[in-house]
């Protein structure tokens, strides 16, 4: 097993389990769900995982002008990641890049513009609606905050957005195009119109009163969809050489990435396409499937999606090998952060390697035989031999991303 050339030296999360990545990981290990009922006035009950966020910690009132929640969360999470990495002191800002995944941009700003401009009949829209909602605003705000002068890029690839952002950042670090990358994702679209749109897609899990927290059941026989989540997650990437030279703590290495397209259907997942991404990621990492001990699954708990992901994993690991691969979808606990999902789940996967503990696949009373996987059971989270792990992100649009991480030895 080769040492990964790209090191992860900082983690930052502002998510449904709070703004401490370690505390979030501990909550996930305990199987604590952040899903709650939202918007009681909607025609159909809805649950989501929201962030308890105080922007005053990162912004003055004046700085908040025209800054949507999606950018606020991004700035906060990126700031925590940079802080965790020991700051950017000594980095040539022209050789630092920002790589951000975001699915929708400032949904709150758009929702508010529609309400003020049309719904209440005023015909007036706040003048900063465009800079607030544009999907690359989060990346730009992060760049401004840290004076980043290199590439500042946004990837909008639905649920794979921020996994792809991490992959692109890792490529730039490995090729020497940048010395250091701040990479992650942000999403903040828990507004009534967007929640209703997802309900209309028939993808959100229904739930009985009082059962919102356990509504999402990845790979379970009675699974019925996901719940939306919001938040931001960032990592700091730099070459292993640079990290070693400055004595930085290395949580893990990002050693492989694979991106593929199904080219079949906009929303229907495809096992062959997913398997192509996984194989490519393993090839880049120089690993064989047997080297990988844990998979943080895409696992959206939809009727259609989960068996297809199982099929994709079985194609790559083989029917025997897949029994040794431990799998969990943490979306049961933090919801589906869409454009930020890949980055948040990357942080979870990195911490799993760092601590050699894997988070459980929660809320499964009975697994679906069509999703026969070695699911991490609650309480059985120790993984003393874990050396490599993979995180899957499969997007509407048919783009698949897989990231392979290795323990920093």
């Amino acid at each position: 097993m080769s040492a990964a050339p790209v090191a992860i030296t900082g983690l930052g999360v502002v998510g449904p389990h709070g703004d401490d990545a370690q505390a979030m990981f501990d909550a996930l290990l305990r199987g604590e769900s952040a899903l709650r009922p939202v918007f009681p006035d909607l025609p159909r009950p809805a649950a989501a995982a929201m962030v308890d966020f105080d922007p005053a910690r990162w912004f003055t009132k004046l700085q908040l002008v025209g800054v949507d929640r999606v950018s606020q969360l991004a700035v906060a999470a990126a700031d925590l990641a940079v802080l965790d990495a020991g700051g950017l002191a000594g980095a040539d800002r022209e050789r630092v890049g920002v790589y951000v995944g975001c699915g929708m941009g400032g949904a709150g700003a758009l929702d508010s513009a529609y309400r003020s401009g049309i719904a209440n009949g005023s015909g007036r829209v706040p003048p900063l609606t465009i800079p607030a909602f544009m999907p690359n605003a989060p990346a730009s705000h992060v760049a401004i905050r840290h004076g980043v002068l290199g590439p500042v890029l946004t990837y909008s690839v639905a649920c794979a957005s921020s996994a792809i952002a991490l992959a692109e950042a890792a490529k730039a670090v490995r090729s020497g195009e940048v010395d250091l990358a701040i990479a992650g994702g942000s999403e903040a679209l828990i507004v009534p119109g967007v929640v209703m749109a997802w309900q209309a897609m028939q993808t959100l899990a229904p739930f009985a009163e009082g059962q919102a927290a356990t509504a999402v059941k990845p790979f379970a026989a009675d699974r019925a969809g996901f719940a939306l989540g919001e938040g931001a997650a960032f990592v700091v990437l730099e070459s292993a050489q640079r990290a070693a030279a400055r004595g930085a703590r290395r949580y893990a290495g990002l050693s492989g990435w694979g991106v593929s397209s199904d080219a079949t259907h906009l929303t229907k997942p495809d096992a062959a396409g997913q398997a192509r991404a996984l194989r490519h990621a393993l090839r880049v990492a120089g690993l064989s499937p047997a080297d990988v001990g844990y998979c943080n699954a895409h696992g959206t708990a939809t009727r259609v999606g989960d068996p297809v992901e199982r099929d994709a994993l079985a194609r790559v690991w083989g029917e025997e090998g897949i029994e040794r691969l431990r799998v969990s979808s943490t979306k049961a606990l933090h919801g589906h952060l869409l454009g930020a999902a890949g980055a948040l789940e990357a942080v979870v996967t990195v911490l799993a390697l760092h601590h050699r503990q894997v988070p459980p696949n929660a809320h499964v009373a009975q697994a679906d035989p069509a999703c026969a996987l070695n699911l991490v059971r609650p309480g059985d989270t120790q993984a003393p031999d874990l050396r490599a792990a993979v995180s899957n992100s499969f997007a509407f649009g048919g783009t698949n991303a897989a990231l392979v991480f290795e323990r920093a030895e």
């Binding site: 003055t60 009132k61 004046l62 002008v65 025209g66 007036r124 706040p126 003048p127 900063l128």
Partner: protein
Amino acid sequence: MSSLTELQDLIQDKYGLDAAQLDPHASMREKGIDSLALAEFLFEIEDRFQISLPDPDPAMDTLAQLAELVDQVRAGAAAQPAT
């Protein structure tokens, strides 16, 4: 009538800048109220006073100038017969 005090209150409320921090004759841009913030501030003023401001002169950069403009518009609105 001068709108200056009301504008100072609005800036305090919206942007957390109190009157002592923003000399009416100092550059607003230098205090962080850049072109984007000013655009939003004008929108807030229109909402608060129920008036319609003309597009601002790009040279306008002090709160005193803005208060003068608001005064003129409010005086004009008051002079209009009610419809």
